[in-house]
Amino acid sequence: MIRTRAVLLGVPFPAALIALWHVAVTQGWMTIIPLPGDVAKESWDFAFGGIYDSAQSGTLLTNLWASSSRVLMGFGLAAMVAVPLGVLMGRSQRLEAMVGPTINLLRPVPVTAWVPLVLIVFGLGGRSTIILVFIAALYPILLNTIDGVRGVPTRLIEAGQMLGTSSARMLTRIVLPAALPSILTGMRVALGFAWVVVVVGETTGVPTGLGSVITEAREVSNTGLIIAGMAAIGLAGYATDRLISQVARIACGKRPLTPTR
């Protein structure tokens, strides 16, 4: 029932957009853009091959995997650093005073401005892209974790204290779960940035990945493949966002995460 309703409401708008696109091209309003049907054909070839026999035919999975693994590695690295650091910074004013200013100074530097330095240090290739993803994903997770930890109700901390909870247990069993909704928000934002940055990173001469596919497609003026690559990036980003929500959902089971007050 709900599914049908979602499809009925959700499909017409993009269908109309594609129809408009088709009309715009056939009427000659847009001349450089291929027809939706041609893009679909190009996408099919990119995914499964057998139509054009170009260098990119049937390479979707390889490139998708290359990009996804960079996203997940950079993101995972960022989460591994940002969550513990954020929990500690949110709990310790001293650590916050020591590390906070540096982070606030580094944060406004756009990831694109990091590209040349990262390339010099880590060289051309996928490794640099992972580092760039790491930098981009770090801040949203860190800031949301600190925020979430600061927002843990004092009462829960006091309850833990008077029940004889050790300080290590306090962090892992009270502060962390209480801050989890905020941490998850940070992770979702970070994952969005990660996909932006992986494409930026892959335009810097990395041989594989969806970013390199659309860069190379531009060099040979294959507009259809550019659009097919964009669609793949969009879908992949959507899929990983759903993935992280599902993982959190499964990990928490039916446990309510938001404090009752």
């Binding site: 309850a159 204290q161 247990r169």
Partner: protein, 279 residues
């Protein structure tokens, strides 16, 4: 029934080592504007003997919650000595279980897990902890709700969980900060009876803060009236200590109960009256 002005609250049974002992306790805060300090409490002496139920009553702002939080170890006194079983109180600890007005339950844990928190935190063997939890869940009448989450329970049920959670640590004293203040009148009465039953059964020492004179008289062996407070321009002090020698279960409609209630109420409200006269 005895009312003594500013008498030190001596241990109930002579010779018993008090579980909690406060001597000359004072608490001062930095003043909200200008330099200097505001003294919230001064010269507080108080003893709670093992198994004794002591209630602290007083008007808003007399410092009764601050006093309880100091015993809890959440705040430090600016003067005086504070001990629990002979050891100085410097931090919160499982020997002084606190029941908050807003429960303070862990919302992501079930009733049973909340109650089992203390035993687990102290590293008790799992089987032993589970048995204790089952006992306490039954004691507070929540066996059917053991696997529910606090957000699915009524306020009264949540407060039962909070009480059981603290009892799981076998505290030397139960500190209760207006525990039934957020409940409706009927639930409040039921919870008072429930608490009395639990106290009878387990005999924990209790230090119970309330602004309800009736609640204090219904439950306590001894009622300490706290007066003053910064809003009255003087530090909070112990105005009276009343030994309640009425037999349990206490009938709140009996003449003796009401005589006592009137007298206590007069003590509690005396500051408000004198403030009104001055105005």
């Amino acid at each position: 029934m005895t009312i003594t002005e500013q008498r030190a609250a001596t241990p109930h049974s002579a010779g018993a080592v008090p579980h909690v002992e406060l001597r000359g306790i004072a608490k001062a805060y930095p003043a909200s504007h200008g330099g200097g300090t505001t003294t919230a409490l001064a010269g507080i002496d108080l003893f709670v003997a093992p198994g004794e139920f002591v209630a602290i009553v007083g008007a808003s702002g007399c410092g009764k919650s601050t006093l309880l939080r100091m015993v809890g170890g959440f705040e430090a006194p600016t003067a005086g000595t504070l001990t629990s079983q002979g050891t100085a109180i410097t931090a919160p600890g499982p020997d002084r279980g606190m029941v908050f007005q807003d429960y303070g339950l862990f919302p992501w844990l079930t009733v049973a897990e909340n109650i089992g928190w203390g035993p687990r935190a102290r590293g008790l063997p799992k089987a032993q902890g589970r048995a204790r939890v089952q006992e306490l869940v039954a004691l507070v009448g929540l066996t059917a709700s053991a696997d529910r989450f606090p957000g699915q329970l009524s306020g009264g049920m949540q407060q039962r969980v909070a009480i059981a959670r603290v009892l799981a640590n076998d505290p030397a004293v139960l500190l209760m900060d207006e525990p039934f203040g957020a409940l409706d009148a009927l639930t409040r009465q039921l919870m008072q009876q429930e608490l009395h039953k639990i106290w009878r059964e387990l005999q924990p020492a209790v230090l119970f803060v309330t602004h309800s004179v009736e609640e204090a008289l219904f439950l306590a062996d001894r009622v300490v009236v706290l007066s003053g407070g910064p809003t009255h321009g003087l530090p909070g002090y112990v105005r009276a200590v009343v030994d309640v020698d009425l037999a349990h279960p206490r009938d709140v409609t009996s003449p003796r109960f009401n005589d006592l209630k009137r007298e206590l109420l007069a003590q509690v409200l005396s500051d408000e009256h004198s403030a009104a006269e001055q105005a």
